[in-house]
Subunit: 404 residues, 2 copies
């Protein structure tokens, strides 16, 4: 981490004026008493930015939040786990709206000041009355140190709560950025079953905020892939309430660059936590493609390698099977010339100009046996680069996804 900002505790409630809390509404049939409702509130009006799933099948809360995001004065986020409220038709839309309405009633806000998110099984109606009853008492759970509880409440098959916060000096003022997230399976570039709620007490305009969030998401959540699937519910939200008292950040200024760097750090850290906590994952692999003719070529090649089930199975077994990597690059639609390709495992040459390098196979095996390693692919055709963060594919992943 750069010395320009430093990590602090507090997650999404670290920034001034944010509180959070969690409750239990037994949303998933037969679930034990685990938090399944999270509420985040800003004491002061905020401007909001968000990125949503690009899946054409969008969950009801995504559709509702897309509309509410246009409000000038956002104040709260309500989120649940245990039910995605996706493929639930008009009833689903009504339920998502009733969740924002319940929060508005409990906190004396307008519905449009509330964003709503859901994650869980698709195609099941929400137990909306239980949820409304729990939301009514949820304000009592709001606390300055409530980030951890909120992070727990949005977990599905995640095994640990994901939160982080940083602080930085911005033109004399002390500014904070915090966030919580959930990930696990179905993580793919262009977002996945992931929810991420970010907060900051910095002051900046809605356009600047959206631009900063889009850049941050592009280099974090859009760079991770576990199983290549992309969910109906993916959402990243950033609320800024300006309570730090800095002069509003202007586009292109040194302050904007610093804010962006800190936000990138926060989102990248949360994204890497998601990969590490991918369902049944045993390895964390960084796939870097360089020397590509274009950015799109670099991206296609990196994603083809990171999503190849054969490559991922080989990694699970600690097999540095570069033949499968060559194969995946070849069927990606990236421009490539077989005889130009170099491949490295943690800097160790595996392939030189398209054929096996002189590195003893045992040395490559040592790298592939590590819990974390980096695969670098140099196409030697240009200057474009792209990196994705991914995992192996394990028998445990299959077991976890065999049924509910």
């Amino acid at each position: 981490m750069s010395a320009l900002f430093s990590e602090i505790i507090g997650g999404v409630t670290a920034p001034e004026g944010f509180v959070a809390g969690a409750g239990f509404a037994a949303i998933k049939e037969g679930s034990t008493r685990k938090y399944d409702l999270a509420l985040i509130l800003s004491a002061a009006p905020t401007v909001g930015a968000a990125t949503f799933t690009t899946n054409k099948v969008k969950a009801a809360p995504v559709r509702v939040s897309m509309v509410h995001l246009r409000s000038a004065d956002l104040r709260a986020i309500i989120a649940n786990s245990g039910n995605a409220n996706a493929c639930t038709g008009c009833v689903g839309i009504e339920h998502a709206k009733r969740m924002t309405k319940a929060v508005a009633a409990a906190l004396k806000l307008r519905e449009r000041q509330v964003l709503v998110c859901s994650t869980g099984r698709i195609g099941v109606e929400m137990p909306i009355q239980r949820i409304e009853r729990e939301i009514a008492v949820l304000p009592k759970a709001l606390k300055k140190n409530g980030s951890q509880n909120a992070a727990r409440a949005i977990m599905t098959s995640d095994t640990f709560a994901k939160e982080i916060a940083v602080e930085l000096k911005l033109g004399g003022a002390l500014v904070r950025i915090g966030g919580i997230a959930k990930g696990a399976g179905m993580i793919d570039p262009n977002m996945a079953t992931m929810l991420c709620f970010l907060s900051t007490d910095a002051a900046l305009g809605k356009k600047e905020l959206q631009s900063a969030l889009s850049v941050a998401v592009e280099q974090s959540f859009n760079r991770i892939t576990i199983d290549g699937d992309m969910s109906t519910n993916d959402t990243a939200i950033l609320l800024a309430n300006g309570l730090a008292g800095n002069a509003p950040i202007r586009k292109g200024s040194p302050e904007a660059k610093l804010f962006q760097a800190a936000l990138n750090y926060v989102t990248r850290a949360l994204a890497c936590m998601m990969v590490e906590d991918g369902e049944g994952v045993s390895k964390f692999v960084e796939v870097e493609v360089k020397g590509a003719a274009t950015f799109q070529d670099a991206r296609k090649a990196a994603e083809a390698v990171a999503n190849s089930t054969l490559v991922k199975c080989a990694w699970f077994g600690g097999d540095p099977n570069w033949g499968r990597i060559m194969d995946a690059i070849g069927y990606s639609s990236a421009r490539m010339r077989e005889e130009m390709v170099d491949i490295f495992y943690d800097g160790l040459s595996a392939v030189k100009n398209g054929v096996a390098s002189k590195t003893p196979f045992g040395k490559l095996r040592e790298v592939a046996a590590r819990k974390r390693f980096k695969v670098t692919i140099d196409l030697q055709l240009g200057a474009a680069e792209y990196t994705v963060f991914t995992t192996d594919l394990t028998t445990r992943y299959v077991e976890l996804n065999m049924g509910e």
Copy 2:
């Protein structure tokens, strides 16, 4: 099967004038005595057609066969398992050529009359001297009933030899079409680690033959997917020697249609055997998309569903998880409207207009528990259709692909 043609025994050697045989050259280090070299020979000159992998990384034998295919008088196919001879650079090309040269020497042919194919691990040099020694004695193994042995010799992780033949009346003459194939993992639309050698004693021109093969491959090998990966070595070859004595088949004639139907049947049967024999497969699933706006939309939607690891894991567990199917259709780039989509399991409604149908979940579970079932997706936007044949994703698949 239509009554216009009937299945016969004999595989690739069923057509007049074809013989085949197998040998052992210990191509894979430490392999036990299992056939790993197959030779197919036509007693009479043939015209040849072929389709090759679209992977940009093409194995050396693919590059050599692409050139030799231009010859007017093809006579033999030499194929090995245990080594793909891919990513082996100039040495690989030399070795592939030496294989055709050895066959030419042993059978008194010209090199360019011989096609060559390989399948196995990528990036390992061929034990070319052992192969040459074995090829020298391979003609002695050629037999009229040698199809089964040749089919065994090209097996890698296949668990059974794949062969089929049919005969049909064509303008008074009795014509035969036969074939052998290997499949297993890495099977994807646009071919995969699959080799398929087809023979016929029908008389037809090179252009007509290529056109017939392309149509047949499109509705068979290009419709199957196991893990979405596509190999460097995929090849389907069809040789026609005209010994049946029929009048040469003319494009658009009734005879051409009948020949096409029979060839489609042969390739579809071999493709389905590959899916059934996919690595660690426990279920055979037909995914049909209809009502799509265009053929490409239907194809994209079907392939996204058939390649979704989450959908495939659910099938493994007998879970008719239609939410994951909706999700996959949504992130495929196919045009779709969530509220128009209907989904069926073996004709039983699971989704009606984008939401859960009234069918009890237990009934859908019964279908998903079957060893074979069909998923039908009706997008209700147009008249285009596409079908792919696929499998579940099992813990056994992961174990089989963890390393060599």
